[in-house]
C-alpha cells in the first residue's frame, strides 16, 4: 500500500554520468579539440549531463566556471557538477551553479565512437506490454524493456542481460544477469525455472551469485525486494 499523502517521492537513484577531466584547461585550443571529439557522435553527447573532473589540476587556481558552463551549454552539453576539486575549485563551482559530487568510480575513458557495449538481442515485436522472447538469450545479448516485463521462454546464458522496468520471468535456466524494476519499482520481481544467475537486481539493489543461498541454487525461484535487500525463495 503506497501512501499518497505526499505529492512527491524522494528516492535514491544511481546514474552513470560522463565526466570531463580537465588536463590542460588553459590550452588555447581546448574547445576546438573538445568539439572535434564530440563531433564524432553528436547524438551521444546531445543534452548529455557531464561532470567536470578537476583531479589533475585541483592544485592550480580554479578556472572561470561561468565561461566553461556557458560554452558547454552552447554546444548542448549540460554540466551538472564538479568532482575532485580543492576547496577553492568547489567554491568557484558552487558560485557558477554547479553541484559538488563525491569522487566517483571511473569507467574506461569515453571513446567518442563508442557503440553500445552489448549487442541488441534478437529482433522481437512487442505486441503486448510484456516483451516475449521465445528463443535462448545467449551470452553477450541484451534484452531491454524499459517500460514493461520480460518473459523468456528458453534459457538465458552466462553473460546475457535482461533489463526490465517491470518483472522478469524466465521459463528455463537463468544463468546471466537480470535487472528488474530498473526505474526504482521495488515491487518488481524475478522468476525463473532454474536459478544459476550471475547477478540479480531489483530497483537497483543487487545480489551476486556468490551471495546466493545454496538451497536456492539451480531451483525454481522467485526474487523479491524487501526494504534494502533482495530475498530469494525457492518455489516448490
Amino acid at each position: 500500500m503506497s501512501s499518497r499523502s505526499q505529492p512527491f517521492q524522494i528516492r535514491g537513484s544511481l546514474q552513470t554520468l560522463l565526466s570531463l577531466r580537465l588536463v590542460e584547461p588553459h590550452d588555447p585550443e581546448f574547445f576546438a579539440k573538445f568539439l572535434d571529439k564530440i563531433a564524432h557522435s553528436p547524438d551521444f553527447f546531445r543534452n548529455a549531463p557531464i561532470v567536470i573532473d578537476a583531479a589533475p589540476v585541483a592544485s592550480l587556481a580554479p578556472i572561470d566556471f561561468a565561461e566553461l558552463v556557458t560554452r558547454l551549454r552552447e554546444h548542448r552539453i549540460i554540466p551538472v557538477g564538479l568532482q575532485n576539486g580543492s576547496p577553492a575549485w568547489n567554491e568557484a563551482a558552487i558560485a557558477a551553479g554547479l553541484a559538488i559530487l563525491p569522487e566517483g568510480r571511473h569507467a574506461e575513458p569515453a571513446r567518442a565512437k563508442e557503440a553500445p557495449a552489448a549487442q541488441p538481442g534478437p529482433a522481437v515485436k512487442a505486441t503486448s506490454p510484456a516483451l516475449l522472447i521465445t528463443e535462448p538469450v545467449r551470452g553477450g545479448q541484451q534484452i531491454y524493456a524499459p517500460d514493461g516485463d520480460i518473459v523468456v521462454v528458453g534459457q538465458v546464458g552466462h553473460g546475457a542481460e535482461l533489463i526490465a522496468g517491470g518483472h522478469i520471468h524466465v521459463y528455463g535456466s537463468l544463468r546471466g544477469r537480470a535487472f528488474a524494476g530498473i526505474d526504482g519499482d521495488e515491487s518488481a520481481m524475478i522468476f525463473c525455472d532454474q536459478l544459476d544467475a550471475e547477478l540479480l537486481s531489483i530497483a537497483g539493489i543487487h545480489l551476486v551469485s556468490e551471495q546466493f543461498d545454496e538451497r536456492v541454487l539451480k531451483k525454481r525461484a522467485k526474487v523479491a525486494c524487501d526494504g534494502e535487500k533482495l530475498v530469494v525463495t525457492a518455489l516448490s
Binding site: Q119, P120, G121, P122, A123, E135, P136, V137, R138, G139, G140, Q141, G154, Q155, G157, H158, G159, A160, S173, R175
Partner: protein
C-alpha cells in the same frame, strides 16, 4: 541449392580449421562439390592442413580486392575429387574482407559448388563476422571445457542477431554442435564436461563428438585432413558427422572410454 556453412567457435585453438578441413573433405568424398574457404586473413592455416600451401599463387583477398579471377585462386585437391580450397592471404589483415567482396565471391562459388565451407578465425571481430554473415548453417566447434562453451554461446547469439538471415528476418541459421577433443576417460573422471552438460548449456543439436586422438595432430603435421586417415577414430567420428550433416541418422560413438586389452594395460599404450 548450394549451402554456405560456417565452422566457428569464438574461442581459438578448439579445432575449427581441422574440422572445416575434415568436413569439407568428407562432403567431397560423398560426391558433393565442395569448396573450403579460409577466412583467417593474416594467420592462414587451412592450406597447411589441406597440404596445398606450396601451390598457393593467388588468394581469397586477391579475388576480393585485386581483380584476380576466382578460378586463378581456387586450388583443386589432389587426393579427393570435387574438393577445392580457397586459401587466404598471410600478409593482409581482416580489414581486407569487404562485405560486398565476400558476397560476390560466395555468389560466384554458389554457381559451381554444392557446399561452401567457411573456416572462421577465432574471436568475434571482423574476420569471424564476415565468415558467419552469409551462412545458411553453422557448425559450432566446442571443447569440453567451460570457457569454450561460454564462447560458443556468445557466437550462437551473434548468429541469431548479426547474420544476414537474422537481419533480413529469414529462417534462422541452422546450428550444429561439434564437440572436439572429447576425452572420454577424463570425462568419466569428471575432469572434462560431459556431452550432456554441454548440450544443456548450448541447447542445439549435436552433429558429432570427435574423440581426443593423436592422429589429429599427426595428420595436421603432414598436411592431410584427418578424415583421410583410415585408421583414426577421429576420422570415423568426422565421417559420422558428415553423414548427420547430410541428414542421415547415425548413433553417437566414442562417448565412453575404450576398454583396454590386457596387452595395452600391460604396456600402457594409448592410441
Amino acid at each position: 541449392m548450394s549451402k554456405v556453412i560456417v565452422v566457428t567457435s569464438g574461442k581459438g585453438g578448439v579445432g575449427k580449421t581441422t574440422s572445416a578441413a575434415a568436413i569439407a573433405t568428407g562432403l567431397a568424398m560423398r560426391g558433393h562439390k565442395t569448396v573450403v574457404i579460409d577466412f583467417d586473413v593474416g594467420l592462414r592455416n587451412l592450406d597447411l592442413i589441406m597440404g596445398c600451401e606450396r601451390r598457393v599463387v593467388f588468394d581469397f583477398i586477391n579475388v576480393i580486392n585485386d581483380g584476380v579471377r576466382l578460378n586463378q585462386a581456387l586450388i583443386k585437391d589432389k587426393r579427393v575429387e570435387n574438393l577445392s580450397i580457397l586459401p587466404t592471404s598471410q600478409t593482409k589483415d581482416k580489414e581486407a574482407l569487404k562485405q560486398e567482396g565476400v558476397q560476390k565471391v560466395l555468389d560466384e562459388l554458389k554457381g559451381e559448388f554444392d557446399y561452401i565451407i567457411c573456416d572462421s578465425p577465432a574471436g568475434i571481430e571482423r574476420g569471424a563476422m564476415m565468415s558467419l554473415y552469409f551462412a545458411d548453417e553453422a557448425i559450432i566447434v566446442t571443447n569440453p571445457e567451460v570457457s569454450s562453451v561460454r564462447d560458443s554461446d556468445r557466437i550462437l547469439g551473434i548468429l541469431n542477431s548479426k547474420s544476414r538471415r537474422a537481419e533480413l528476418g529469414l529462417d534462422a541459421v541452422k546450428q550444429h554442435l561439434l564437440v572436439t577433443r572429447y576425452d572420454a576417460e577424463r570425462v568419466t573422471k569428471g575432469e572434462m564436461l560431459k556431452l550432456d552438460d554441454i548440450v544443456e548449456i548450448l541447447a542445439i543439436p549435436v552433429l558429432g563428438v570427435i574423440p581426443q586422438c593423436s592422429s589429429v595432430l599427426s595428420a595436421s603435421n603432414v598436411g592431410m585432413p584427418v578424415i583421410l586417415d583410415e585408421k583414426s577414430k577421429a576420422s570415423d567420428a568426422y565421417k559420422d558427422a558428415v553423414s548427420r550433416l547430410l541428414g542421415e541418422e547415425v548413433d553417437l560413438r566414442f562417448l565412453l572410454p575404450e576398454k583396454k586389452s590386457f596387452f595395452e594395460r600391460l604396456f600402457r599404450r594409448s592410441a
